[in-house]
Symmetry: D2
Subunit: 350 residues, 4 copies
């Protein structure tokens, strides 16, 4: 850990943030959050040759609010605006080509891509592609603040978790840690709004194809599956395996996991929810629901993840919901930024 | 079985149909199907005191097409229009108060409610309310045509299956019959469009509450669970138990079940789909999907149920999709009617 | 008019139909209608090099129903399957390259594109591109059955009207004919579902861009404007000019026009609706609404156009609604086919 | 104007706000805005007997954020929490029964209802009901900050404008002031998302009735019509009359007006947009669009109103869009609050 990783921002000061890859939905959301943030300032937006120009040309909603242009990315330009932090909303593979250049210049990085999420290079390469930045992989901290806050605070490089992994892990981790469910045979039936699929036009995301359409995809081969297993195995302290099955629901945003697991002994919903509450008692962005079941609309546009547990037909049933663009992406990144720079964990996030 | 139950309709003739309870979504759909049916004629619509008047006042879409009024229901009026068949789209409990009166008059009945679906009176009463028509219960045939066509053909009273039970059973039955999955520990993660909740305005179905909202409900206590278990136990020839978990997705119509089960031995997706195909080779309304996963839009406004099987992480994963108002309700009722009156099973259903 | 244009189809016989351009939404809808049509049969589907293969690969919903492949289009192949009629769902410009070839072979044509809608070559060329088939232009009949049924019956080539022109004209024509509104200064504020924009993926039709989004487009330059003016001028017998302003509403299908005009003398809603009713008394697919205002859902998946008139603040206000894919495209084409082949105008359309 | 009306809040201090009527969508939105507001604090929520209890029971999204209960409203309780400001989200008629009681206690009021919007008692009574608080009517200031900021700053009672009037007026006012369009014969074709209809369940707002449905309503008799005319007449300095025609589009939120007017002389879009820009050069929440047409999604969840002008077929066409719950209701109320208490007009609103 280099010296600059411990820089914190004092009252009245602001973190100088650069966004790399500002033309997608995650970029948009982080811009909106930063606009409201009392101690952060967006000082530049950079992107590829193919997507340059005023930010309002990408998002007309930002007109009059964000006078910045997306300029061609070079690490030197990021340094020139004296950025404390680069937020990378670029595809995997691109991310690991940018990160070493930024780190070399002493700039801390939060990366939205998958490039630094899988700690085991071999596993990464099995699911993605050859990894070209083992040093970054060694340095990276998995940015799930509810479990890794201390390491996040001192990190130079954060692998911002996937939306599905965040949603799944926050529900499962406490009950696995408590040994109340078996660490294998778990099923995560997950549902996402369409913004989770990104902003690139494709027939399957064309409005009349998706509206009034609920559909499964990626059976047994979704890349978030090994990420979820890695995170839970790490938190539980023993191997956790599960079947992750994603679906698309016709809505802009929101994510909900319905999780089915075998109890290790007879257990009640009350006991399970007690465990969840104990785990998140001092975590500002996880809410344990006892009466109302989680629903995507109850967390929409917030950084909350709602979780709850039930018992039915001998199985433990967990539900978790979050906004895939906020707690599942850009809100979580800002939460990580807050921890990295010694700010209130919730700054800018209500 | 009384004599009238074997009446069939010859080429050029029409089944005279009466609809009881025409103001909800299932009533609407059956009217639209009957309008296109070459051998059936809607000769009357009857309902409660609180919902009388021209059919177009309930559904402006039917204006100019259906000149009938919904009149106050009495069994005598149904007999007076010489109905061969009464289709009952009324709530449970109301259904079992109407059915004996209609059967006494020799009118065959297809009942959309749950009153005659659960063969075991004690189980019915545990999940619903006291049952007042044990004779009807004894006579009723469960109207899942893919499995009970012979009995349906001669039935005087059909219990039209629930939408979730139809969707679940069509995927699970063949693989249970083939002994390829364990008959316990099955999870049915089901999703429905909002029309499945009926037409009565309630805050939870108010547009701004449901739009952009995906939500679970009825954990462990949905009344379709015992119906699914009964059907599958009967078809499989041994007790089947499962956890049925429903959800609402923001769309008008459509239903999809993601089903997770344990194989009894190592099995491949190909083998499972072969079993599905063999089971439905001569069934016109079940399609086995090998390449494209089922999706609600691929069955919307049709009487098809699409099913497929996959294997992932050691589990058998089945998907099934149907239109909750068609194959899950009114299309299936017409399919039953076709069988009851000796018509082509598909008449009026393409 | 050549001899073959008067061929009619007798009871028991079927019109042999070929579809050219089967991979878009209009193609899909006409296939579904033809499946239900008692006197028409789809005998072939043809398309461009870039979109060949089984119809179910374009529309999984058609699996098991439509065993045809989309084959490479040549006029000879259309002739080889002894087609009575070619339905062309191809872009403008492509249409006028195919039509002369088909007509030369004696095949009657219904063309969904704009190529034969604008009778005046100069006007067509001002709004579209150079016109290469003046003979076709001379032969073509504008396929608005409520006004041109006699000519349609004998036509060899039908220009199937645009969705907006159909919706606008059916409301305006009777009151213009009756001289009750001024033929200039009319405003047509029109709204369409997204399927109206076709099936080609583009950012502006990407689900998260269109959902929760209502938006105007094409101010003063939409190509349907001259088509509406031509039709109304022809029906009214004097020049009609109007401002047509389209918008997109977040829904799959449906179209509604809110039309504002100046009365030529004090007039009441009742008088205007009487005029509408007189005009459409014997037209099966136009419904005049006196009590319930037209809405897209009241015509969805039907071939109806609902119209009504009101008077407010000294203006005549007309509303008209239809399903853009049915009465606005493929249903209207089948209505035209029915007239061309001496069938009941409503065959296959309920 | 009483002394208390000039109270301003200094840096570090907070306006103490009470919300009356917290169970609807407008209440929800103002709570969310106040949560982010650096200089305002929600110190109580009050409502009717029929809707008391924890705020999270009305809006599960607010769980953990808003620990307040909605308590039974009495003016004394509002005074007891030392409220500087009462925000009234109650129905018209109820509002004018509460306002005098609050004003008597020296509490400033922003009222969301229509009770104080129509300055002319006779006009109010023609469209609504007998008015029982003429003193309040005399005192009330119409809270459209872009035109009445000076009076708002000193007001004791603000009539918070309707959503449609705000959207219509912001586009029309400058061009009427500039004399570029005729003050009569204007047509406002307006479209709203469903949240605009409130939170009370009714069949017409039941999800399956509204989804995929675009529909006009209130022809010539919508109560916002006289409010729009009053506002524009006041700003333009001469009588303005128009036809206001509302519609519902299937989306949660958003509003867009397409406005058609006659120019008084030949005019260009550029000239019109120059006039709009001059009018709003120093107004933080109105954006003049030259290239991109306004759309509801470009203003969703913001306090912006986007406006633009075009010329087509001899007419002036204006478009304006806003979020009906923010700039059309609760955001505008907070903007008014900011002006009333000497805060930055934009505080809490980005």
């Amino acid at each position: 850990m280099s010296a600059q990783n411990t820089k914190t921002v004092k009252a009245g000061e602001k973190v100088r943030v650069v966004l790399v890859g500002g033309s997608g939905y995650a970029g948009f959301e982080v811009i909106r959050i930063l606009l409201r943030h009392p101690q952060a300032q967006l000082v530049g937006v950079f992107g590829p040759e193919s997507a340059l120009g005023p930010m309002e040309s990408f998002y007309p909603l930002l007109s009059k609010q964000v006078p910045l242009d997306q300029e061609l990315f070079t690490p030197e330009k990021v340094a020139a605006v004296r950025a404390d932090l680069a937020m990378l909303c670029v595809p995997h593979k691109v991310a690991m080509s940018y990160v070493p250049q930024l780190r070399k210049l002493g700039i801390r990085v939060i990366d939205w891509s998958a490039d630094y999420r899988i700690a085991d290079k071999a596993v990464y390469e099995q699911w993605y592609c050859p990894h070209t930045d083992p040093a970054g992989l060694a340095e990276a901290v998995y940015g799930l603040p509810e479990y890794y806050a201390a390491r996040i605070a001192k990190a130079g490089l954060i692998a911002n978790p996937g939306c599905y992994p965040t949603c799944s892990a926050l529900a499962l981790a406490p009950v696995l840690q408590a040994g109340l469910i078996k660490p294998e045979g778990i099923v995560v039936n997950a549902v996402s709004g369409i913004s989770g699929a990104g902003r690139k036009p494709m027939l399957k995301f064309h409005y009349p194809e998706r509206n009034e359409n609920y559909e499964p995809y990626g059976v047994g081969d979704h890349r978030h599956m090994p990420e979820i297993e890695q995170t839970l195995s790490d938190i539980a302290g023993r191997p956790v395996t599960l079947l992750f099955q994603p679906h698309l629901s016709p809505m802009d945003r929101g994510m909900l996991c319905s999780i089915y697991a075998e109890p290790t002994r007879p257990v009640t919903a009350e006991e399970l929810n007690d465990v969840l509450e104990a785990a998140y008692a001092d975590k500002p962005f996880v809410r344990v629901r006892r009466d109302v079941l989680p629903a995507t609309k109850y967390v929409a546009t917030t950084n909350y993840c709602d979780v709850t547990a039930r018992v039915a037909k001998g199985k433990v049933v967990l539900f978790s919901a979050l906004d895939n663009l906020i707690k599942g992406a850009s809100g979580q990144a800002v939460q990580n930024m807050n921890l990295m720079f010694g700010l209130d964990e919730t700054a800018g996030l209500f």
